[in-house]
């Protein structure tokens, strides 16, 4: 009985603010709703069917998929490279570690405002560099060809600090005697990287990949501040699309259907993580 008492506060909050709203979202996704979000007519799968047929949703799905593709692999490669670089025993290495992890202290809002300035077509850094090279400037956030890529670059930067910290921790957990034996055997640096560092780091890499994937699906702030989903819906990623449908267009039924799809996407990623993660444990 007392055991339940210790768990009760958490359970109540999970119930009210996670399990109930998830069930409610599924329920709402099957209804047409009024502007207050009150379900009016049961329509079954219609919200989903409408979504799959709407160009707007197809664009949103495409933007989300491309965003994941642009940000996750590049972000992980960058963070891994920085972590390996910073995992040296050198004087002053602490300063570099601090520099590499700095973005973890940066909020999405603050980072977005800074990148907004960097992307500014007339006074931003990127167009100034292009100008210095005599290349015509680019409308980074207004050109449908570049907008999603620009938001992705900013996002990769924002996420590096967190991934770096975890990967550095993973590197520091590797048994040093492995490197000692490798040194005695006189193998090359690249051999050490391929045969010791990366395999031993793989559980951490795997964790970071899962977290990055889920984070990418949940992106909102930088889109809201940098592009508002535009131009021509090229950056209208799923969470922004849900937000717009629910709180701007007052179409809660459609927003809920998209929320269900988001849930399914995250669920698939998480289940894969458990399945593949389990197999790894067996192999060891």
């Amino acid at each position: 009985m007392t055991g339940m008492l210790f768990l009760l506060p958490s359970l109540i909050l999970f119930g009210v603010f996670l399990f109930y709203p998830m069930v409610r979202t599924v329920y709402l996704s099957l209804f047409l709703t009024d502007s207050q979000g009150v379900p009016v007519v049961f329509v079954g799968w219609e919200n989903f069917l409408n979504l799959f047929q709407s160009t707007s949703f197809q664009l949103s799905a495409k933007a989300t998929a491309l965003f994941v593709l642009y940000t996750v692999p590049a972000g992980i490669v960058l963070a891994t490279a920085l972590a390996i670089l910073a995992n040296q025993k050198l004087r002053g290495i602490g300063l570099f570690r601090t520099m590499f992890s700095a973005t973890m202290g940066m909020s999405v809002a603050a980072s977005s405002v800074i990148w907004m300035f960097l992307f500014n077509p007339s006074i931003g850094l990127f167009n100034r560099i292009l100008g210095a090279l005599n290349i015509p400037g680019v409308q980074w956030l207004l050109d449908p060809q570049y907008a999603l890529l620009s938001v992705s670059v900013a996002t990769i930067w924002m996420n590096t600090g967190f991934a770096f910290l975890i990967l550095l921790g993973g590197l520091q957990n590797i048994d040093q005697s492995l490197y000692e034996s490798a040194r005695v055997a006189g193998v090359s640096e690249s051999y050490k990287l391929r045969k010791i560092t990366l395999p031993m780091l793989s559980p951490t890499l795997f964790f970071v990949t899962t977290v990055s994937l889920i984070n990418a699906f949940q992106t909102f702030g930088q889109v809201d501040l940098l592009t508002k989903g535009g131009p021509m819906e090229s950056t209208n990623v799923i969470v922004y699309s849900i937000y717009k449908d629910a709180f701007i267009n007052y179409n809660v039924g459609s927003a809920s259907a998209q929320a269900v799809l988001l849930f399914v996407a995250v669920l698939v990623v998480t289940v894969l993580q458990f399945k593949i993660g389990e197999r790894k444990v067996h192999y060891q």
């Binding site: 055991g3 339940m4 210790f6 768990l7 506060p9 958490s10 359970l11 909050l13 999970f14 009210v16 603010f17 996670l18 109930y20 709203p21 998830m22 979202t25 670089l85 910073a86 050198l90 300063l95 570099f96 601090t98 520099m99 590499f100 992890s101 202290g105 909020s107 999405v108 809002a109 603050a110 405002v113 800074i114 990148w115 300035f117 960097l118 850094l125 100034r128 930067w157 590096t160 910290l165 975890i166 550095l168 921790g169 993973g170 964790f207 889920i214 909102f220 702030g221 809201d224 969470v239 849900i242 937000y243 629910a246 927003a255 929320a259 988001l262 849930f263 995250v266 669920l267 998480t270």
Partner: protein
């Protein structure tokens, strides 16, 4: 140049590239309008005019205070709820405990954004819009924090708990007197992580606050960026600096601890 020199050079270049946007924001916050337009990298004088202007044009102080209160409340709420739950998972055996443990794990599979519409409706019907309650209470329970503390609590010998039970010490006394002091470092890690995340929250405060008295500082930044101040980049960057300073300081002070804690949580 030796191997070490090359290493230092790579470290310096990549370090500068990573912190450049932050450093640049600091520098711009001291520049006058003309300098920003010319694309200067270094301000002529380090004047604080932009900072005064930022505080004048938006109620930045109110926003900062709101963010501080919200972050501290979320941090405290998470520490209390997570440690209570972790204690039950480690020390108190009862029927259905395993089942509840899986329930906790399953919460990690639900993206918070997928539940935001009904959550907004709940908070609205509770009359919690524009209140600290609405901004904080939905985030008090956290599976990740519970698991992190559970790992730490497990290192305390079960015999100690059994002995205390025989001696007639209450569970709550054992919890506050023995368990919490042992877990001090992990609690600190969790506190830093909670504060950072809460301070940087964006979407939820955007949904549940719509007046200046209750806004957090992140939404204040959006306001600065969308108002006419937006062309005054020096003032906007002064606002940015005020927002990132607390978390950057916290990160630099707690970086090592955070790294150890997160790795522990990541690898179970």
């Amino acid at each position: 140049m030796g191997k070490k020199g090359l290493l230092y050079m790579t470290l310096t270049v990549s370090g500068l590239v990573m912190v450049f946007p932050i450093l640049y924001a600091f520098l711009i916050s001291f520049m006058q309008g003309g300098e920003v337009l010319q694309g200067s990298l270094w301000p002529e004088t380090f004047s604080l005019a932009n900072y005064f202007s930022a505080f004048e044009r938006v109620p930045l102080l109110t926003y900062l205070w709101n963010s501080l209160v919200v972050s501290v409340l979320i941090m405290a709420g998470q520490l209390v709820l997570c440690s209570l739950a972790a204690f039950a998972f480690v020390f108190i055996e009862f029927k259905g405990r395993e089942w509840i443990f899986y329930l906790f794990i399953s919460t990690m599979m639900i993206p918070w954004e997928a539940t935001m519409v009904p959550n907004f409706q709940t908070v609205q019907s509770l009359g919690w819009l524009n209140s600290y309650a609405g901004l904080t209470i939905p985030f008090f329970a956290m599976a990740f924090g519970t698991f992190l503390l559970r790992q730490q609590f497990k290192t305390i010998p079960k015999e100690l708990y059994e002995a205390s039970q025989i001696a007639g010490i209450s569970k709550l006394r054992f919890f506050t007197g023995v368990v919490l002091p042992v877990a001090k470092t992990t609690m600190t890690t969790l506190a830093i992580y909670s504060f950072l995340t809460a301070w940087n929250m964006y979407l939820w405060p955007l949904l549940v606050t719509n007046n200046e008295a209750n806004r957090t500082v992140q939404i204040g930044l959006k306001q600065m960026q969308t108002q006419e101040i937006a062309s005054d980049w020096g003032v906007v960057m002064a606002g940015v600096v005020m927002v990132i300073l607390p978390t950057l300081i916290l990160l630099f002070a707690g970086q090592k601890r955070l790294q150890e804690g997160l790795t522990q949580g990541a690898l179970k």
